[in-house]
Symmetry: D2
């Protein structure tokens, strides 16, 4: 853990996202091409605690850019949340002689990275951490975009397009629950993209009568006989919403919970390209001596922000998109 | 309703299936090219009861061969199950001067067709019915293959392939419920195609310990850390099976119910081609004076069978496929 | 053609792009929801010359958000490039009482719009034009992003992923030509996303020995036995490059020209969402009295720029992406 | 090379096809589960000549059932066509103690297998060969179906569906060349599935005026403004046909050669399932002492035929499918 960067670790942590492999690949390849050694740490922070790692070269990451999931595995680590757990991790970093770590994941991953970095600093040492945002929820405060979001959107709209085929044939109402416990990005993008009758998101308090009942009524009056309601899991349960629609409108909706399907699949071009660029920039940051950064997209550009400042940032949900949804779907079919 | 075929109706009934549009298109085009007029009856048998129909020409069915669902809409008709309901339908057929009807759907659709045909016969008249099997469950006794099954298989394996990405990354067990209340074709084909650890189907009594617990154990002993269990809805609820796996093995499975997604989507080449061929043969049958037939695939060929005999046939589930599953997945990863 | 906006036209022109339908839909729906009438002008500018148009309401644009191509058809109009042709177009606009036109297409489309607007102004009248950038080449100077680019990227990487399967099995070199006569965006994004051995783009002078021969050699030395060369059509012909590779390296590449496949297909989530937002903003601009604008994405935001200024802008190709490509693929397999 | 089967080899040869991996997996897994050792021979028959092989266990074939291409690589072997080359191969078989070989490929592969088997027999020994038909052309005389055909059909119709989007928008004619040097199965299935205006196949002598010019004319008269012509490579070059259409009809077609894209991609459910079943049956045949067989589908069933007899069989092209094409597309849009 010295000044010049000779050897780095790379890990994926938290929920997996399509494009994580592309990010790992970019980190390893960029490092190797700069003469920096690279160690793959497996199963998130647990890998540092359990001595679960593997040296990587350029060929270790061949044939993975088009694969979903993460070849390094991922996990949430409770042990790492304790100082004792992190102490074991620090020992592993020392043993391996790591100068820095690229941690690919979401806010939780980055908070872990910061805690580790501080604990190392308290010991008078330095371990440079760089975060790369990857989560299908797009809910990392400092970055406009997170790896995996685009693939999840495309997976969800493909599923909803299929649902619409059968809903239209049977003239039914469909309620679809997409991922997003704290964030409605996925639900809103999907809703706009499929021409949903109604979209419920955690960022906007739900008025069931205005946001669901009235929307379905207006669609029916325009001649439409099928309706698509998209719900972010953080805005309510699709099953409950289906029941309430049945109670209030006397129609019998079909409920689908897309679930973990949204997490998998070959990453889209956007996710592969963004992940490649972010992984590349992560190594650039480390190599140029900038540690404790998060690689973000800001105003369409890839930048690196101070990790602590970045973690304090919150993203303002752009309500204009909700107006786009309303302007393009209210009182009409899809 | 005379001897020579001048005008026919076409309808889709029961649950929709990808390829129904291709079948409708083939019926209309083949009829028109033989100088037979064609009336589209909408919303299944209800269309005959409610005077809900539309004349069709070759252009009416352009741009639909690649679309899921059915442009004629579909519904289950309770009214049609009564003699009074069918009497109304007969009146519509007389009004329209229909010589025959092509009914696209499953066993229930064909039983309706037969009841209608008999009621007409009791009145000393003739209305020629031809059935075309279309259901994603592949559960029509007389036909090896039903339109929509292949697309549903492909949709399901694409979903399960995505699930596997994330299950593998998190080293988890996944339980997936696919459609099939009475038939395990979909579950077994999907299970073989994704290398499932275990597959539960209604045709084979489930011994939970042998068929699930032991399969997962053997996979674990072979070094695998993720497991895919595929369940036909008729063989049990995925949620219940997930709970039981948790109780007996202490692992925490993720449950996904694929649901109506399996019904939609652009039909596969096989479903488009089969539907085109079956729709073509249905009109050939009618035009050549063979009524009350079901168009079936038997031993790889398209044939037409007497409707009554065909409805009495049952399909023997080919257990060899279950042995293929066991031989290729037991004691191994996917 | 007065001050207050009561009736607008919408058209698609030039090469089609996936998402054009979503843009048309957003224009029509937003207009209708603001009480503005909307006329669909067909076959690009020709529609104004040939009186080829259709009134549109909310239902006119149902079921199109997920469809490739453009329901309004598109064409290149030579007549419109002459003052006489535009005079006919102006007469149609007067006849229809159009206050503005939303023109969806590329630079050529916008130059046509500007010429029309000026010719109207010379007559002391006003016709407000708003451009919406849609082209798979992403080669509109004023906008970071153009509708259709993302879908084309995804289509291309899906094709190249398939090519790679067979190239890998046969240990062959593949040369793939993607669209982009003047711009290498598509080629470079695709190249990064598939881990191409070499990428040739018009923005960077090609040194065949350095950019192709040496890249393949380095890949071979790293143990790789298949190579993927991606060529933008503006940087050379894939057939010629294939021949030259054969001459200089003695291997026998397989050449694929992806061609018009890249233009079609159901638009991706990103293209549907962007098109919806841009179509919405186009109508906002017109309704708020801002004419002669192009709706652009700048730094991740949707803005409207003065059409004349926007047309004068050129986009600087970001060579950092080329470095990302080199850092992640040099001396390695995909 | 004795009586009881203890160790077998498996190889893929000739052009690759999606599903070859699933077949290899089924062979290895079924063998291992029956206590038979399995050796993977790489790069087709060349592997036997060049000592290029690898022992395989159940885990060797994990994660490949959903992958296109072949993990064993494939090649055409000129050396193997000579007695000297085969003598080297026989020596390798003796060294390895192989009792049998499962050869996955097309007619050429099986003729190689038969030649090898005979040469061994001349030496008073036995080497049991079992062939598994895998080629996207579906041109193996003894088997109704060959692994890979279904995936290739689906790939081709997805491409043509995309082409149609842009052809429809521009009101153009499209000429698409699909694979099939000697066989028109792919072209005809694709043509039926996309509603092609015209399909040219090697099995049916082409009368250009009747089969192309007149078909386009009839489509135009029905109101259609875009036309799709599908050509099997064995029935003529798409470029030439495009030129001739231009000469005779004055329209300017766009030509696309799908090429090797058709060979790749994740195998469809049908190809995975069929490959699993055929691979399983191949090992059953060997284990039960039936050598020199080809595993075929006949009348919808999987059977094993004597290799020599099977190689003498020819498949009669079912012209009924051409009539289905004509009945469903003549004088109409897609």
């Amino acid at each position: 853990m010295g000044n010049q960067v000779k050897r780095i670790g790379v890990l994926t942590s938290g929920g997996d996202a399509p494009g994580m492999n592309a990010a790992v690949r970019a980190v390893v390849r960029t490092a190797v091409n700069r003469g920096i050694e690279c160690i793959g740490i497996r199963r998130g922070w647990n890998g540092l605690i359990n001595h679960d790692f593997v040296p990587m070269d350029s060929n270790s990451v061949s044939h993975i850019i088009d694969k979903g999931g993460t070849m390094l595995y991922t996990a949430r680590s409770e042990a790492f949340m304790t100082p004792e757990g992190r102490e074991k991790a620090i020992a592993t970093c020392k043993l391996l002689g790591l100068d820095g770590i690229v941690a690919i994941g979401g806010d939780g991953t980055f908070r872990g990275a910061l805690a580790l970095s501080r604990q190392v600093a308290q010991q008078g040492e330095t371990l440079q951490m760089v975060g790369v945002p990857a989560t299908i929820d797009n809910d990392v405060g400092c970055s406009n975009y997170t790896i995996g979001f685009d693939t999840a959107c495309n997976t969800a709209i493909e599923c909803v397009d299929k649902l619409r085929d059968t809903m239209q044939s049977h003239e039914r109402c469909s309620v679809v629950e997409v991922m997003g416990r704290r964030a409605g990005y996925l639900a809103l993008y999907v809703g706009i993209s499929v021409g949903a009758t109604a979209v419920l998101i955690p960022e906007r308090p739900v008025d069931f009568d205005r946001d669901v009942v009235e929307k379905i009524r207006q669609a029916r009056l325009s001649g439409t006989t099928h309706y698509m309601v998209v719900v972010a899991e953080g805005a309510g349960s699709a099953v409950d919403i289906g029941k309430r629609i049945h109670e209030e409108l006397g129609i019998d909706p079909r409920v689908t919970v897309l679930g973990h399907i949204q997490r998998g699949g070959s990453p889209s071009a956007r996710d592969r390209e963004t992940a490649s660029r972010m992984g590349y920039e992560a190594v650039q940051s480390l190599a140029e001596g900038r540690g404790n950064r998060i690689i973000c997209t800001q105003d369409g550009k890839v930048v690196d922000l101070d990790m602590e400042e970045a973690l304090a940032m919150t993203k303002v949900f752009d309500m204009e998109r909700y107006r786009v949804l309303e302007a393009t779907t209210t009182g009409a079919g899809d």
